[in-house]
């Protein structure tokens, strides 16, 4: 789950990383009360979870005379389609130089990787593409509490040494908050010291519980409903509903629909060992999506039993729109049940997807 900037900054601040003075406001008038502590020059930043927020008009400059009006303007905007519900108002820093630092999970080395660039800011991706040496990277052993000094020297190159303790603190936050990504861009130097001018923190979904986070806000309502039943679920734009077991097989079913020039409406993996009840909820959930006129069920029984799946499909009772391919554990019993109730079954996923295409078109 991706935290908003102000939440990430609160956490970074607890780890001793200096952040600009700032307040979160939910209405334009609130800004006035805070101006004395923030100073004459402020930055207003929409707290929306979209990339490229600055370029999309989500960050505005103001002074004490224009702050309320600017806040009103920002609250009235949609940033890449997302309405602005809260704004982080911060003091404007006297920036000398902008750096970039991020810590991520490196799949190849299976360890944390720290990236650092001498030129931070909005153009970092382009700079990195144009010149690979613009971004330095070091892999740290997760078994170490701190980034070793020799790696820190390699990372910083000629950049000021005063950045080192901040990067190390970021590493602590990354480790202890179960982060997939912890980023400061830009990390700025000012005459008063170093600050995290922006902050990004993505928490591992599998660690939300132990981090004390109850719900993943990144999910839509139907996605949350799906999660309640133990499904992996993603909504797409097409007309063909898809239910499968196992992420790979389900994704592969979606791809096959695209291969035959159709459009899948969703991805729904019922998970291992789904029983009658879970399958019923899955079929009903997908059938409830607007625009879905046919559902492909592609199941390979292992732990999952085909007869349970069949009972679930029958119990969902959305008959004309379901096309089934199932094989594996108890497939004969499952197929007998479905046949009794007049469901259409096909032997391969290719055949099932082709049949769904005919119904959809």
């Amino acid at each position: 789950m991706k935290l908003l900037e102000y939440e990430a900054k609160q956490i970074f601040s607890k780890y001793g990383i200096p952040v600009p003075k700032g307040v979160l406001i939910r209405a334009p008038e609130e800004v006035a009360a805070h101006l004395p502590e923030l100073g004459d020059a402020v930055v207003l930043k929409a707290q929306v979870d979209v990339g490229g927020r600055g370029k999309a008009g989500g960050v505005l400059m103001a002074d004490d005379a224009t702050a309320v009006e600017t806040a009103r303007e920002l609250f009235s905007r949609e940033i890449k389609g997302v309405p602005v519900r809260s704004i982080l108002v911060e003091e404007r820093l006297p920036i000398e130089h902008e750096y970039y630092v991020s810590i991520a999970v490196d799949r190849s080395s299976r360890q944390p990787v720290v990236l650092f660039a001498d030129a931070g800011g909005v153009e970092i991706e382009n700079a990195a593409m144009a010149d690979e040496s613009a971004v330095r990277r070091v892999v740290v052993s997760t078994l170490l509490r701190d980034i070793p000094a020799f790696l820190m020297r390699e990372l910083l190159g000629g950049a000021p040494k005063e950045l080192a303790p901040i990067i190390n603190s970021l590493y602590h936050a990354f480790q202890e908050k179960d982060a997939m990504l912890a980023e400061i861009n830009p990390l700025v130097t000012t005459p008063r010291g170093v600050y995290a001018a922006d902050a990004k923190l993505i928490i591992d979904d599998n660690a939300l519980a132990r981090q004390g986070i109850a719900v993943n806000r990144d999910l839509s309502e139907r996605e949350r409903e799906a999660e309640k039943h133990g499904f992996s679920y993603v909504e797409l734009d097409g007309t063909i509903g898809v239910i499968g077991n196992g992420a790979g097989l389900t994704m592969s079913t979606l791809d096959l629909i695209e291969y035959y020039h159709g459009q899948a409406a969703n991805f729904l993996d019922v998970g291992g060992g789904a029983d009658q009840e879970r399958v019923m909820h899955a079929v009903r959930l997908v059938a409830s999506m607007p625009g879905v006129n046919v559902i492909v069920v592609n199941l390979l029984g292992g732990i999952t039993r085909c007869d349970e799946v069949a009972k679930g499909i029958i119990a969902a009772d959305v008959l004309p729109t379901v096309i089934v391919r199932m094989a594996g554990t108890n497939e004969e019993e499952g197929q007998r049940l479905l046949a009794e109730h007049g469901y259409r079954m096909l032997e391969s996923m290719d055949a099932a997807v082709r049949a769904a295409m005919e119904v959809a078109s």
């Binding site: 190849s108 299976r110 179960d178 790979g248 592969s252 991805f267 732990i303």
Partner: protein
């Protein structure tokens, strides 16, 4: 054979849990069928002295290894404690840990994999179905009846998709040397590079099917690292960016790891890439 043959002695951690119990029986059914040793002991803290399908249970891995000759462990421990179990196994001298558990926090996996490495313990998974060498041994949860013995290796990030491909291969008369699921998480013990290195050293394996998906670039790294003939299939060409397609690791991030660019890069390396699972047997015949 890679990872082990019928002589492999296996323990199961959390053997008294629902999955541990169920799959211990299936693994041992398979071991009996092929004349292998199978699961010789189980571990469940606080439940030492019990038996599960005739297999004795111990409180710790160390205790189990004192009484039994085993070098591999299959881990069915729930996510919050799973990586502790990997470290316990590695510390006790286990050479190979197969982690079936899903939903393990990534930071736990990073620590467990690093710790296991210090003890020369190979980790397969987590969030994986394990491996099956037809006619020799099975560690994990793969449905063995779909597989037949042969000379094609299969290495995959996905469970059920692997069964689909194995079924296709078997029905096309193409047997498998070893089928290994390396797992769908962002951090996994055995990567494609590691598995392919083992296939390369395995005299039985003549070609390998690489089954990948969106997220990361481990497939390309693997294919670049091997001289074996490889056929690839990448799931998720229709996957939208920034959405997790079921697996924690199956996500297109920051414009990286999308299936189409993976397919392009693999094709540029001269690897035949199937556009659907049913094309895989035909492509394998061409490279064999």
């Amino acid at each position: 054979m890679i990872y082990g043959d019928r002589n492999l002695g296996v323990i199961v951690q959390n053997i008294t849990g629902r999955q541990g119990r169920f799959h211990t029986e299936l693994m041992n059914d398979y071991a009996r069928e092929v004349g292998g040793r199978g699961v010789v002991a189980g571990v469940a803290p606080g439940k030492g002295g019990q038996e599960v399908h005739g297999v004795p249970v111990y409180n710790t891995v160390k205790e189990a290894l004192r009484e039994h000759d085993a070098t591999a462990s299959v881990i069915f421990v729930p996510a919050p404690a799973a990586c502790d179990s990997v470290m316990e196994a590695a510390h006790a001298g286990i050479d190979l840990a197969v982690v079936i558990t899903e939903h393990i926090p990534v930071h736990d996996t990073m620590k467990a994999v690093a710790y296991a490495k210090l003890h020369d313990c190979t980790v397969i998974g987590p969030n994986c179905p394990g491996f099956l060498s037809p006619g020799e041994c099975k560690l994990g949860i793969m449905p063995a009846h779909l597989a037949t013995r042969g000379n094609v290796g299969v290495v995959s990030r996905s469970g059920t998709l692997t069964y689909e491909v194995v079924d296709e291969l078997t029905r096309a008369g193409i047997g498998q040397s070893t089928v290994v699921g390396i797992g769908g998480d962002p951090v996994i013990g055995q990567t494609f590079v590691d598995a392919l290195a083992r296939f390369e050293d395995d005299p039985q394996t003549k070609a390998v099917v690489v089954i990948g998906e969106v997220g990361g670039n481990l497939e390309e790294e693997g294919v670049r690292s091997t001289d074996l003939p490889v056929v690839a299939y990448i799931a998720g060409v229709s996957a939208p960016p920034e959405k997790r397609m079921g697996h924690a690791g199956a996500i297109i991030e920051g414009g990286e790891g999308d299936a189409r660019s993976k397919v392009r890069r693999l094709a540029a390396l001269g690897v035949p890439v199937a556009s659907r699972p049913s094309e895989i047997p035909g492509l394998i015949r061409e490279v064999l």
